[in-house]
């Protein structure tokens, strides 16, 4: 133990040429290179990792956690009150009208679905691309995904006029004769896409958790937790056979989850793209929505990770390098989003269709221009700041920028939904939309739900994938 702690320090302080000389004799991993910065700082050994991560679950939660949970619960209660009020009184408690049938509800829905994209992107796509840095963030990113999809899933139900009949959207065997669902409706596709995505994400997340749960099971002293972890770790025994099967299944699931990352938001975008409202009816929506979703997802992961590493003292595990990598993804996807905005303007103006031209002008200069420019600034422009390494590596800067991106991406959905609807074909029906306190309450409540669930996750499950991080330790490569 003592040796493993001190040895890397020697290495880190040694001159590069000296290290190169040392390499073969030290028996280092063949791909080990000093040019690659270590992903995990603090020269952790396997045991350190286990201890560091598991001990987060074991002691009584600290004051920071309790404060965070209280705030989140307050937000959640606001959301519950708003939901009860909506369901009791009717959708009239919102600011919608005869022209604008969706606003905050579907904005929140698409926003949360978008947030839910980063987790699976990190765990599945980056896994397939062999991006080792994902190991520090994939667990919490996946948890974030699941929670975000849960938050998202609530809105299509709450937004219904008669939410108690939401199950009518499901094609279940019933006694109503030929009455069935409408397979032409994108809302139905949404249901399939989201439920599939949620299922796969949940299974994938859970499967990744199994070895760590076994570790936690072996360490925990709490009887309740031991029962929980024992049940959940499915009798994991750490044998070679188990590991071999586990990794095969994990890779297969990663391959299965990958297309879903692309399909979910494509299908969500069909809600708009297949309609005929100018500003919705657009073929660029699927790629534009997917890029936007990954963009917003990464922004949210960054926001969360910066908080988590402070709150849980995980600075060694989630390093500025991780954040920088995520910034690069945000830069790429943000640029795609920016390109989509410009393309949209071009297509609109070039279309020769007066309704399309009007929508573009109305977005930029109409009554909701402020929302459009918040969207444009926070997404297309803010993401470009990540070209600067100084900003990419400054944690306060990333924190601020990632929040701005979240704001911008929420407004993107708001702009798409509200500005397209509020002035469509017949000027006689043009209207304005102002949210009510109930709708704000629902938005706030969804954040409450999100953070409450996330904080519980932090206390209940290993926040970093112990087994995967161990694989990227310098220590692992040395032994």
């Amino acid at each position: 133990m003592a040796v493993s702690v001190t040895q890397p320090e020697v290495l880190a302080t040694a001159k590069p040429e000296a290290v190169a000389d040392l390499l073969p004799s030290n028996g280092l991993h063949p791909v080990y290179s000093e040019l690659r910065k270590p992903l995990i700082l603090g020269n952790k050994s396997n045991a350190d990792v286990t201890r560091d991560i598991c001990q987060l679950l074991e002691p009584k939660p600290g004051l920071g956690w309790w404060i965070s949970l209280s705030v989140s619960l307050v937000l959640l209660i606001i959301g519950v009150v708003a939901t009860v009020h909506t369901v009791n009184t009717g959708i009239g408690t919102w600011g919608l009208n005869k022209t604008i049938g969706w606003a905050f509800d579907i904005t929140n829905f698409v926003f949360w679905i978008g947030i839910g994209h980063a987790g699976t992107f990190i765990s599945a796509i980056l896994f397939l691309f062999n991006q080792k840095w994902r190991t520090s963030v994939n667990r919490s990113a996946e948890a974030m995904t699941l929670i975000a999809v849960m938050c998202a899933g609530l809105f299509p139900i709450i937004h219904m006029g008669r939410p108690w009949l939401f199950y009518w959207v499901l094609p279940y065997p019933n006694t109503r004769g030929t009455l069935w669902v409408n397979f032409r409706s994108p809302l139905l596709w949404d249901f399939f896409a989201i439920s599939t995505y949620f299922t796969i994400s949940a299974v994938f997340w859970y499967l990744g958790l199994v070895p760590d749960l076994a570790t936690a099971r072996d360490r925990t002293k709490s009887r309740l937790r031991r029962v929980l972890y024992r049940v959940m770790s499915l009798g994991w025994n750490g044998s070679n056979r188990t590991w071999s099967r586990y990794e095969t299944v994990y890779a297969v699931l990663a391959a299965l989850a990958t297309p879903l990352v692309l399909s979910v938001h494509s299908i969500v975008s069909f809600d708009f793209a297949t309609s005929l409202i100018p500003g919705w009816h657009s073929t660029i929506f699927p790629p534009y929505f997917v890029a936007g979703a990954v963009f917003s997802g990464f922004a949210m992961v960054m926001t969360l990770m910066i908080l988590v590493r402070k709150l849980m003292h995980l600075e060694d595990y989630i390093t500025p390098q991780h954040l920088e990598n995520m910034c690069k993804v945000a830069l790429l996807t943000g640029s795609i989003v920016g390109l989509a905005y410009i393309t949209e303007i071009f297509i609109g103006l070039y279309s020769g269709n007066p309704n399309e031209i009007f929508v573009i002008i109305n977005r930029g200069l109409g009554p909701y221009a402020w929302a459009y420019w918040i969207m444009f600034g926070c997404n297309a422009l803010v993401s470009q700041l990540f070209w600067f390494k100084k900003l990419r590596t400054s944690i306060p800067a990333i924190f601020v920028l990632s929040i701005l991106i979240n704001v911008g991406m929420w407004f993107e959905r708001f702009v798409i939904i509200v500005t397209s609807l509020h002035r469509d074909f017949l000027p006689s029906s043009w209207a304005m939309y102002t949210p009510t306190i109930t709708e704000v309450g629902l938005l706030v409540g969804s954040f409450g739900l999100f953070f409450t669930a996330f904080l519980i996750f932090l206390r209940l499950f290993p926040v970093i994938s112990i087994n995967e991080v161990k694989g990227v330790l310098k220590y692992a490569k040395q032994h």
């Binding site: 959708i91 005869k98 074909f425 304005m432």
Partner: protein, 967 residues
């Protein structure tokens, strides 16, 4: 390493053993404990009890002996006469299970010809108005009729002895029998007099005709015979005298069907924007003063030989107006005997000059028939003022108010209130505890007209019958019977009515040999037309011309910069305020401003810009004596020197819906030269700090360059426009319509935007009223709306109306997006909304380009048992959270299909009329089967003017429009 692993396995094994032990202890083999037994017992008891829960049984008991002519579920129809205003349009009353639920136009009526206005459709709500009085009142205490009759009879006999003056104050009555009853009642007294009072008076027309032709009556204007109509501020399509008849005539002569190439030309001089002006081919924006001057100038140009006018110089007219008048005079001179000049002024001099011009053009006997219409037995405005003076001096011993509300709408309300206090016996026969009734000693509520017998003769020779369609809902009594009781007559008014008809009308006809035959036929048809008396040619009497010209010339316009000319007008929905407690009418958007639930001060765009006024800014309007505060509405097309305010608002005791809506502008009415004046009123306007938001159903005025409500000029039309409708390719396979394919053609050339269809639809389809706040949130529920667009500049404003109902598209964008198939296509081309399947995603609403879908945001108030009687049992009352929309009145389609099937015949074209079509006064909406190429709707769709709205979307709507033609 290995050591660690071993320990771990042992640990696990020990744990597992323990669990198994625990489990076996709990196993059922160990026997049932007392606790478990009780649990099972408890659960099963609850389970058994719950299965017994269900809705209580209610038995439907059929009639042992079914009443004659009454089949549950089948409507009965009664021909009757609308009692909404004195125009007395013919109606058919639909009665379901003993309840009148809808008024429709009576196509057999020679004047209204099946048309009805929005107010008439609203009358059904008036019947079930929860604020109607339910019993007679002594002061504010309910009493019985016996008590009230005894007391009043006692007091009246005292008056009889003392020879005191008795006055009955009513609205102008078009019913000869009622007038006779009143006369009979008054005959008991030494000095009894029946005075009629019109808060918004057209007395000047009577006075002018008395001067010009010796007949104090309003003549019959025959728009259908005119080729050129010139209106000086008369809103004849909206509120003036008999709007339904005029609209009918107007639409007829503007119709382009049957290959007509020549249509009526309509020129309007007006200072405010009226419904009529908005339909004009040429609209000249003038101040009220200029309007008078234009009339004078026109008179001079039409009658150049008249010395009196030769001296007149149109110095006060703008160059454009002067040119317009000159051009108009040439047009008029070439349309002699085929033109019609009408004036909305209540100044006898203006009306007299109008008569002069009409006489010069030879219009009397052609487009104007001196067959007296309304107002033969009407009192003048001066008589009303005189009455108040008499009351004030204590001369009047008893005042019986019936159907009027002078405490609210008399121009010097306080004076009337004071005068009323000086009257020893004050009786109100009004049906509600309104402003006047609440000051009366006794209130003897009269029946609603749907509960009463009556007749009507709005135009001489056209006799309408009003028959009751329901027994009085409350302890009310027909006012005629009340007066008969007080004259010691115990008969029913029905008997009196029949006697009158037997004695007076029966001998005037020769069609029927027996009175019973005559009566039954009239009752069945609702109306009987006597032989028109020969058109008496009465020559124009120019005696008072010089005086009139002199007085008109001396009028002056606004001279101070601070002053504005106030014009008071009526809205098409509330009229003079009688219908203020009708929420349907309150929520009916004004055709031009689209504002509901409020009145406002209309100012021009330039005035607003110059004085820094914005929409909704509350201003204080004052003439020194009266002051009111109202929000400003900026009205395109209005004259810059004019502020216009609608009368009929600001009721303080209208009831639940109508009290406290807007402000009362009646105090601004002036009494000049023996008549009430509604314009040429000088006021000042001062902005206040507050601002309100209007409840407006349409916010955007312009079409944004999109060709939505299309129009073309007559020249273009005559040159020929071929239907340029292209068939777009579709990916969907077309629907199969084996039997019918329903469709509608809306002739925008006929539509005048009067809104009658909107209320007809509301009554037919149980459409809820949502209230001012909800309209402000753009949540009005009307299934059918009339879009109004302004185009052009302020001097040359073009207004287009476009009624919009669900277009029942073939490629319906709503159908494809509903996840639960709550909106589906029928085999007859209808886009059906299945309320009980709808979960309320509102996706269909978003995806509907016409935005005709309406969502139930709340459970709308259906808590009033009386008001609920107005519901149509054929149409589901929608619950919260479901989408609704126009169904093409599918209940009527189904009814016609059932009837046709029962009779073994195909459905005839025109047999099915949706509510909007049925009572459209201009017959702008034509419904029918598009599969039948001979149907009227299919024929109309072949017109070169036919186009589909948003054709480029290829939704293939079943509703198409025929472009408007301006002459």
């Amino acid at each position: 390493m290995s050591n660690q692993q071993k320990r771990w396995k042992q640990f696990l094994a020990a744990e597992n053993d323990g669990e198994q032990l625990e489990y076996s202890a709990k196993s059922p083999i160990a026997g049932v404990s007392r606790r478990t037994f009780l649990e099972v017992l408890g659960y099963s008891t609850v389970a058994v009890t719950l299965t017994g829960c269900r809705a209580p049984e209610q038995k439907i008991v059929p009639y042992l002996r079914e009443p004659v002519e009454f089949t549950p579920g089948v409507a009965s129809w009664f021909a009757s006469t609308c009692g909404g205003c004195s125009a007395a349009c013919g109606t058919l009353v639909k009665v379901r299970d003993g309840r009148p639920i809808k008024l429709e136009g009576n196509p057999d009526h020679p004047l209204s010809e099946g048309g009805l206005c929005a107010v008439a459709h609203g009358m059904i709500f008036g019947l079930y108005d929860p604020d109607r009085l339910r019993s007679p009142m002594r002061g504010s205490q309910p009493a019985t009729w016996e008590e009230i009759d005894d007391e009043i009879l006692g007091k009246l006999s005292a008056i009889k002895k003392s020879g005191g003056k008795v006055r009955i104050l009513t609205a102008p009555l078009s019913s000869p029998a009622s007038r006779k009853t009143i006369q009979t009642f008054l005959a008991q007294f030494t000095d009894g007099k029946h005075i009629t009072y019109q808060p918004v008076s057209n007395d000047a027309i009577r006075q002018a005709h008395l001067r010009s032709h010796g007949i104090a009556a309003i003549p019959q204007y025959r728009l259908e015979k005119a080729k050129l109509v010139v209106s000086f501020g008369a809103d004849f399509l909206g509120t003036w005298i008999m709007p339904v008849q005029f609209t009918r005539g107007y639409a007829k002569t503007r119709s382009l069907t049957e290959g007509r190439r020549e249509i009526l030309r309509h020129v309007q001089f007006e200072s405010i924007m009226s419904l009529t002006g908005s339909n004009a081919d040429k609209r000249i924006r003038v101040s009220p003063h200029e309007k008078t001057q234009a009339l004078l100038y026109l008179a001079r140009l039409i009658a150049p030989s008249t010395d009196l006018l030769n001296a007149y110089e149109p110095r006060q007219l703008s160059v454009q107006t002067q040119e317009a008048v000159e051009e108009l005079s040439r047009e008029l001179l070439s349309a002699q005997g085929e033109s019609l000049i009408v004036s909305g002024s209540n100044a006898p001099d203006s009306q007299y000059l109008t008569n002069f011009i009409n006489d010069q053009l030879g219009n009397y006997g052609k487009t104007i028939e001196l067959t007296p219409t309304l107002g033969r037995e009407q009192s003048s405005d001066a008589e009303m003022v005189e009455l108040v003076q008499q009351m004030n001096t204590g001369e009047i011993a008893a005042l019986i108010v019936c159907g009027v509300n002078p405490v609210y709408d008399y121009f010097e309300s306080q004076k009337f209130v004071d005068a009323l206090k000086a009257v020893p016996l004050r009786v109100s026969l009004n049906s509600a505890l309104d402003e006047t009734s609440s000051l009366a000693d006794y209130v003897c509520p009269q029946n609603h007209f749907l509960e009463s017998w009556d007749d009507a003769e709005a135009v001489q020779g056209t006799l309408g019958i009003n028959q009751p369609t329901i027994a009085p809902l409350f302890q009310t009594r027909a006012f005629q019977e009340t007066l008969m009781r007080w004259s010691g007559d115990q008969r029913s008014f029905y008997e009196v009515l029949r006697n009158t008809w037997r004695e007076e009308h029966f001998p005037q006809q020769n069609q029927f040999a027996t009175f019973e035959g005559f009566w039954d036929a009239t009752l069945q048809k609702g109306v009987f037309s006597l032989q028109q008396p020969a058109n008496v040619s009465i020559t124009f009497k120019p005696d008072t011309l010089s005086g009139a010209i002199g007085r008109l010339q001396s009028t002056s316009g606004v001279n101070s910069a601070n002053e504005l000319d106030l014009v008071l007008y009526q809205t098409t929905s509330l009229r003079d305020g009688r219908f203020a407690n009708n929420p349907w009418l309150q929520e009916l958007p004004d055709p031009l401003t689209k504002i509901t639930w409020d009145n406002y001060a209309c100012v021009s765009q330039r005035y607003a810009a110059m004085n820094g006024l914005e929409e909704g800014r509350v201003v204080r309007i004052s003439n020194g004596a009266a002051t009111i505060e109202l929000p400003v509405h900026i009205q395109p097309g209005q004259h810059d020197d004019v502020v216009a305010i609608a009368l009929g608002y600001g009721r303080s005791k209208a009831g639940k819906a109508g009290s406290g809506i807007g402000a009362n502008a009646f105090p601004f009415v002036a009494f000049v030269d023996g008549s009430f004046r509604y314009s040429h009123l000088r006021v000042t306007l001062v902005p206040t700090a507050s601002k309100v938001e209007f409840a407006q159903t349409q916010i955007k005025d312009s079409q944004e360059g999109r060709r939505l409500a299309r129009e073309l000029t007559l020249t273009e039309y005559v040159k020929g426009t071929e239907s340029h409708h292209e068939e777009h390719a579709s990916l969907w396979s077309p629907h199969d319509y084996p039997e019918h394919k329903w469709g509608i053609a809306v002739d925008l050339n006929a539509c005048v935007g009067c809104n009658a269809c909107v209320i007809s639809c509301q009554a037919e389809n149980n459409i809820p009223v949502v209230g001012k706040d909800e309209v402000r949130r753009s949540r009005d529920m009307h299934w059918l709306r009339v879009d109004r667009y302004f185009e052009g500049d302020r001097d040359n404003l073009r207004v287009n109306y476009q009624p919009l109902m669900c277009a029942q598209c073939d490629n319906a964008s709503c159908e494809s997006v509903c996840p639960v198939l709550a909106t589906v296509h029928s085999s007859e081309g209808l886009n059906m909304q299945v309320y009980n399947r709808c979960v309320g995603t509102r996706y269909c609403e978003n995806n509907c380009p016409y935005k005709v879908r309406r969502f139930n945001w709340f459970t709308y108030a259906r808590d009033d048992a009386v008001a609920n009687l107005a519901l149509n049992p054929d149409v589901t009352v929608r619950s919260r959270g479901v989408m609704e929309k126009c169904t093409f009145c599918v209940q009527r389609i189904e009814e016609a299909k059932i009837n046709a099937r029962n009779e073994g015949r195909p459905i005839n074209d025109g047999e099915i009329q949706p509510a909007c079509q049925q009572s459209c006064p201009s017959q702008a909406i034509i419904f029918g089967d598009l599969r039948d190429v001979k149907s009227r709707v299919a024929q109309m769709k072949k017109s070169g003017r036919n186009y589909t709205l948003l054709d480029e979307l290829n939704l293939r709507p079943a509703v198409s429009y025929l472009a408007k033609v301006r002459n």
